[in-house]
Amino acid sequence: MGSVGAKEVPVLLSPEGLRIDGRRLDELRPIRIQAGALRQADGSAFVEWGANKVMAAVYGPREVHPRHLQQNNKAVIQCRYNMAAFSVDERKRPGLDRRSQEISKVIAEAFESVVFAEEFPRTSIDVYIEVLQANAGTRCAGLVAASVALADAGIPMVDLLPAVAVGKVGGAIALDLKKEEDNFGEADLPMALVPQSGRLVLLQMEGHMSPEELAQSLDLGVRGCREIYEKMKQALRERYALTPAAGGAA
């Protein structure tokens, strides 16, 4: 970037319409998904998404701890999103903070709308998301990792949950913001999609957008999610050495 002072805003969009890392406005960062990355957990996944590295582990359905959270008609979904102290430039103070509590809550609620929780009354499905390296979009990367991990754990779901953030940078709507774009951009809009129904089960926004820009962002985000969806299914097929014809996620 060549900036000296922290106040200096980098050029986020070139005259040719390319972004800070050379991507087009509707282009995702490279994504690599590995299903079944951990041996101990019932299900797991590791996602590398641009410079993000996120590990997800799923345990359950299993006995609920603490007991008073138990629901007698369905499973409870407990999620813990956490960022490692070394995941960002300046050391992140370890442990729960307001931000990670919020993200844990919205991710758990997103999964509540796709998991067949009624199948497992009085149990708990525990989802752990650990961000090892962060570069904007970690809640989406965490959601994608956790979703693949849930499928790997054999938990029945309506669908996988691809997620991506759309934002406004340099006055234009752009898919999948990276760190500089998130920090210096005008808006950030993470979303998670149920591809089979087209329903959004997570939608948050920071910054400012016009109603027209919002509509355009939603369109772009849904298209991005569908692209990620294919990568998620591919990761699961690779894990179980399946060809597309023989089976898939259901």
Partner: protein, 238 residues
């Protein structure tokens, strides 16, 4: 859920390839005691919930409050799933052929989805492993395998089970396991264990008391394995 899809209108079914053990009435399963109460024990059978084993579901004449004289926390048992209720409660019993407390040996956990592979068609895989190692093996439908025998035999059986767990979906598994067992056979008695030697060992392993019946090698399991095998091979890429 991740699995193999089969369409039988008007139903679709997904046969899982992974995940926890989902209990089914009639399944023989291996569990460990996690809690002892006045009239029952709680068993971890790898299912979503702990399964209560009531004192009337045992071959023993248990007095109320004396449950811990028979089974304690961490003891291993082989039991049968009797019933499931809509709240997810799993009823198990220890009354039946081949059920009881497991004495000695060790328990190896594998994915429940791999149990039909471990048993093999008509019990072929389990027979292969038993023949080559002389170990005493009981397979639970929940993916827990109890192995008893010499430390060497237990080590070799565990290695074979790890291979089945990791490569269960690929063809030619029995041959690969057999070649592993031949290659790891102790040098002083390479090849299959003589029947006499095996029966000597078995007599020593079975406790004489009727209170602790020990499961005989693969006598009933092959049938169950065969049935689920048939289901899988009909639709899947096996």
């Amino acid at each position: 859920m991740l699995g193999l899809l089969s369409r039988r209108p008007p139903f679709v079914q997904v046969v899982p390839l992974s995940g926890r053990y989902i209990p089914k009435p009639g399944d023989t399963v291996i569990g460990t005691v996690t809690d002892v109460q006045g009239t029952f024990w709680l068993l971890d059978i790898g299912a979503p919930r702990w399964a209560p084993l009531h004192m009337t579901g045992t071959p023993w004449d248990v007095e109320v409050g004396e449950t811990d004289r028979y089974l304690r926390v961490r003891d291993a048992v082989i039991v049968q799933v009797e019933n499931l209720d809509p709240t997810g409660r799993i009823g198990v019993t220890m009354n039946g052929e081949g059920l009881g407390k497991l004495e000695g040996g060790t328990i190896v956990s594998i994915s429940p989805a791999r149990v039909p592979r471990v048993v093999g068609r008509g019990g072929s895989m389990i027979q292969t492993i038993t023949r080559h190692t002389g170990a005493h093996i009981a397979v639970g439908q929940n993916g827990r395998v109890w192995v008893d025998g010499t430390p060497e035999a237990i080590r070799r059986v565990t290695e074979a089970l790890r291979i089945i767990d990791a490569e269960g979906q690929r063809p030619g598994l029995t041959d690969r396991v057999e070649s592993l067992l031949v290659s790891t056979a102790p040098t002083d008695r390479s090849g299959p264990v003589s029947p006499q030697r095996e029966s000597e060992y078995r007599d020593a392993a079975v406790p004489p008391t009727p209170h602790h019946p020990v499961h005989e090698d693969g006598e009933e399991e092959p049938d169950e394995g065969d049935a689920s095998d048939g289901e899988g091979s009909g639709e899947g890429p096996f």
